[in-house]
C-alpha cells in the first residue's frame, strides 16, 4: 500500500499563497483606514433578495434554502416567496426607523418578476448588487466557461437595464464560484464581489481583466448560517452581532476603521417572531457613537 509519489510533493510550497489570485497579508500590518467623521465601524447591511425556482435542477448541488421535497415543493417555494412579499416590507420599516442605509443583492430573475419591489428599492436610492440569475443557477467548478459567461452577462445586463443602476457589486448564488467566475465578473464591469470570506477588510483580487475588490461579507454572522445552519436561538443571533460590534469597535481604536457586514434574508428574519430580533440588532448598532451605516460602494470609496 502506498500513495502516488505526487502526494508527497508540494510544488506550491512557497512564500505567500498557493495560487495567484491575491497577495498574502495580515490585516494588522496594513495601512489604517479612516472613515468619514471619525467613525470607527462601517456597518454594511445587505439584504439578499432571492428567487428559488420550484422546478429546481440542483446542479451541481441543491442550494441552501432551496427545495428539499419532491416536486412540487410548495412549502419551500412559498415560504421563500414570503420574504419578497411580506418580510421585506418589515425590513424596510426597520431600516427607516433606525436610520440604516442597506444594500440589496437581487437575483436578476426576481427583478424581472417583481417590478414593484425593484422600483421600491430604486426609489429609496439604495444600491443594488447582482446576486446572479436565480438561486438555481449556480457557478461551480467544472462548469462550461461559455455557459457561465452567458449567465454572468445576462444577469448583469438585464439587472442594469431594469434598475438603471451601474451594478458594481456581485454575490454569487450560494456564494459558490468556478475558477473563471472572478475573470468573468471583471470582464462584465463588476468592481467588487463578496464570495470570499477570508478577510474583515477589502483587498485587491487579481483577474485576467484587471483587479476586483474582494469585499468582506461574513458567512459566520449571516442570519441563515446562525439560525438555519447552526440552529442557534434568535437571542443568540442578537448577542453574536452585539459581541462582534463591541469587539470591532474596540479593535478599531488602535487598528483603523473596521467593517461589520451583515447579510440578511427577509424569508428568515422577516417572520413575525424574528423581526423584533433584527430591530434589536439595528437598535443596538445604531445607538453606538462609532458606527456609520453605509452601502458597500460608499464604504469602498473611503478605502
Amino acid at each position: 500500500m502506498s500513495l502516488e509519489k505526487e502526494y508527497l510533493q508540494y510544488p506550491l510550497r512557497r512564500y505567500g499563497m498557493d495560487h495567484d489570485r491575491y497577495e498574502w497579508s495580515q490585516l494588522g500590518e496594513r495601512p489604517k483606514v479612516q472613515w468619514p467623521n471619525n467613525k470607527k465601524l462601517a456597518l454594511w447591511v445587505n439584504v439578499s433578495l432571492q428567487f428559488f425556482p420550484l422546478n429546481q435542477k440542483g446542479i451541481p448541488f441543491k442550494v441552501p434554502g432551496g427545495m428539499t421535497m419532491p416536486y412540487p415543493d410548495l412549502r419551500h417555494f412559498s415560504l421563500r416567496d414570503y420574504g419578497n412579499r411580506v418580510g421585506i416590507y418589515r425590513f424596510l420599516k426597520a431600516f427607516d426607523r433606525f436610520g440604516i442605509q442597506p444594500t440589496f443583492a437581487m437575483n436578476t430573475v426576481l427583478a424581472k418578476r417583481n417590478p414593484y419591489l425593484l422600483n421600491t428599492i430604486c426609489e429609496r436610492g439604495s444600491e443594488i448588487l447582482c446576486h446572479g440569475w436565480d438561486m438555481d443557477s449556480l457557478h461551480y467548478g467544472g462548469q462550461d466557461e461559455a455557459v457561465e459567461a452567458d449567465l454572468v452577462k445576462k444577469s448583469l445586463d438585464d439587472l442594469r437595464e431594469l434598475s438603471g443602476q451601474e451594478i458594481a457589486g456581485w454575490i454569487s448564488p450560494a456564494r459558490n464560484e468556478s475558477e473563471n467566475t472572478p475573470d468573468l465578473l471583471a470582464a462584465n464591469g463588476v468592481k467588487y464581489f463578496c464570495d470570499w470570506v477570508n478577510d474583515d477588510m477589502p483587498y485587491p483580487f487579481h483577474t485576467a481583466h484587471g483587479d476586483l475588490t474582494a469585499m468582506p461579507l461574513s458567512n459566520e454572522l449571516e442570519d441563515r448560517f446562525i439560525l438555519m445552519n447552526n440552529l442557534h436561538s434568535e437571542d443568540s443571533y442578537v448577542e453574536q452581532i452585539q459581541d462582534a460590534c463591541d469587539f470591532l469597535l474596540a479593535e478599531a481604536e488602535h487598528s483603523g476603521g473596521r467593517i461589520l457586514a451583515l447579510n440578511i434574508h427577509p424569508w428568515l428574519l422577516g417572520q413575525p417572531h424574528r423581526i423584533a430580533k433584527l430591530e434589536a440588532v439595528l437598535d443596538y448598532l445604531s445607538s453606538q457613537d462609532g458606527v456609520w451605516s453605509a452601502g458597500a460602494s460608499e464604504i469602498l470609496s473611503h478605502c
Binding site: 505526487e6 495580515q26 477570508n198 454572522l221
Partner: protein
C-alpha cells in the same frame, strides 16, 4: 485492522498515584492554537476528499485563510494578555507560506509541534516509508525555521495509520534523541497524561488535548452558541480543578484562528481565559512542558501502577 490499537492499558480514574504540578498546582492548563494551511487544489486522497465542492472550493478554503490573515494576530494578542504561551499544532508548510506568523510566535517563546505538512494531505493510504518521510519533513521544517526540537504530534486533519505514533517517536529519536518526538495529542481517552506502548519501548506520553473543548468541534460540528461554548469551558475547568486536588489534571483548549478569532466569538473565549487564569493553583504551560514534567516525575510510577492493576490472567485476550 485491529479491534483495539492497544496503545494503552485500562487504568481506572480512581486511586491513581498523586500528580502534583510545579508550585503545587492542581491543574496544568495549555492552549493549543492549530495554525494550519489548507490547499486550494490538493492532490486527491483515495479515502478522504479535502473539500465538499469541486475546485475551487472557496467557502472552506477562504474561511481557513481568514484564520491566518485576520484571526492569528487577534488570538496571539489575547493569549499574551493572559500570560499564555501557545502550543502550536502547525501545518509545517506554513513556515514557507507565512513566515511572519512563525517569527511572531517564536519571539513569544511559543511551542511548535507537528501537525503534518498541510491539513489537506492525509495519512490514509501512505506506506510506512511515506508516512515516515512526511513526519520527518515536518519535524525538520520546524527545526529549520524555529530551532525547536519537535516534541509533540497531532496527525494532519487527525488522519492516522496504525503506525503513526511509532513512526513519530522513532523519527524524533533519530533527529533529536530524547529531546524530540515524545508526546501525542491524538488520543482522547483520559484527563491525565498516560504512558503509551510503542514498538520501540521509548518513553512516550499521551497529553490530554480534548476534542470536546476544541473550538472547531464545538462550533462547526456541534454547532454550539458562542456564549455556551464559553460556559462549557468554565464548567470543564471547574471540575478538573476540583479533581486536581486529589491528583493533578490537564485542561487543554485547542483552537483555530478561523473559529475562535471571529469577532462574534472572541468575547466568550476571553471571558473563559480570564476565569481560568484567575485561579491560583493553575500551571499555565505548554504541551511540551507538561510532557517533560510528567516523563521526569510520574512516568515510571504510572507505569508501575498500571501494571499492578492489570488482571492476572491477562484479560479477555481479544
Amino acid at each position: 485492522m485491529k479491534a483495539d490499537p492497544r496503545f494503552y492499558d485500562y487504568w481506572p480514574y480512581e486511586n491513581r498515584p498523586k500528580i502534583v504540578w510545579p508550585n503545587g498546582a492542581k491543574l496544568a492548563f495549555w492552549v493549543a492554537p492549530n495554525i494550519e494551511f489548507y490547499e486550494l487544489n490538493p492532490p486527491p486522497n483515495p479515502q478522504r476528499a479535502a473539500w465538499p465542492q469541486p475546485y475551487p472550493a472557496l467557502p472552506g478554503y477562504s474561511i481557513r485563510d481568514y484564520g491566518n490573515r485576520v484571526g492569528h494576530q487577534r488570538q496571539m494578542a489575547l493569549l499574551e494578555k493572559y500570560g499564555i504561551r501557545g502550543s502550536i499544532s502547525l501545518s509545517t508548510a506554513l513556515c514557507d507560506h507565512h513566515p511572519e506568523i512563525i517569527s511572531a510566535c517564536k519571539e513569544r517563546d511559543w511551542e511548535f509541534f507537528s501537525h503534518g505538512i498541510y491539513n489537506t494531505r492525509y495519512t490514509y493510504g501512505m506506506s510506512e516509508a511515506q508516512e515516515r518521510e512526511m513526519i520527518r519533513d515536518s519535524m525538520t521544517s520546524i527545526y529549520k525555521h524555529t530551532g525547536q526540537k519537535c516534541a509533540g504530534y497531532l496527525a494532519p486533519a487527525l488522519s492516522h495509520s496504525e503506525l503513526t505514533l511509532d513512526l513519530f517517536a522513532e523519527v524524533g529519536t533519530e533527529l533529536f534523541g530524547d529531546d524530540g518526538g515524545f508526546y501525542t495529542c491524538d488520543l482522547f481517552h483520559d484527563d491525565q497524561p498516560t504512558p503509551i506502548h510503542l514498538r520501540s519501548e521509548k518513553p512516550f506520553v499521551s497529553i490530554p488535548y480534548s476534542l470536546e473543548m476544541n473550538d472547531t468541534i464545538a462550533y462547526a460540528v456541534n454547532k454550539v452558541e458562542p456564549r455556551r461554548y464559553g460556559q462549557m469551558m468554565r464548567d470543564n475547568f471547574d471540575r478538573l480543578y476540583q479533581e486536581g486536588e486529589e491528583s493533578g489534571t490537564v485542561m487543554c483548549i485547542p483552537t483555530h484562528n478561523y473559529q475562535v478569532s471571529c469577532p462574534h466569538r472572541l468575547k466568550a473565549f476571553e471571558e473563559s481565559l480570564e476565569y481560568i487564569t484567575g485561579h491560583s493553583d493553575v500551571w499555565v504551560t505548554t504541551g511540551r512542558e507538561i510532557a517533560e514534567y510528567y516523563r521526569e516525575h510520574y512516568y515510571q510510577t504510572s507505569k508501575a501502577d498500571i501494571a499492578a492493576r492489570q488482571p492476572k490472567a491477562g484479560g479477555t485476550g481479544l
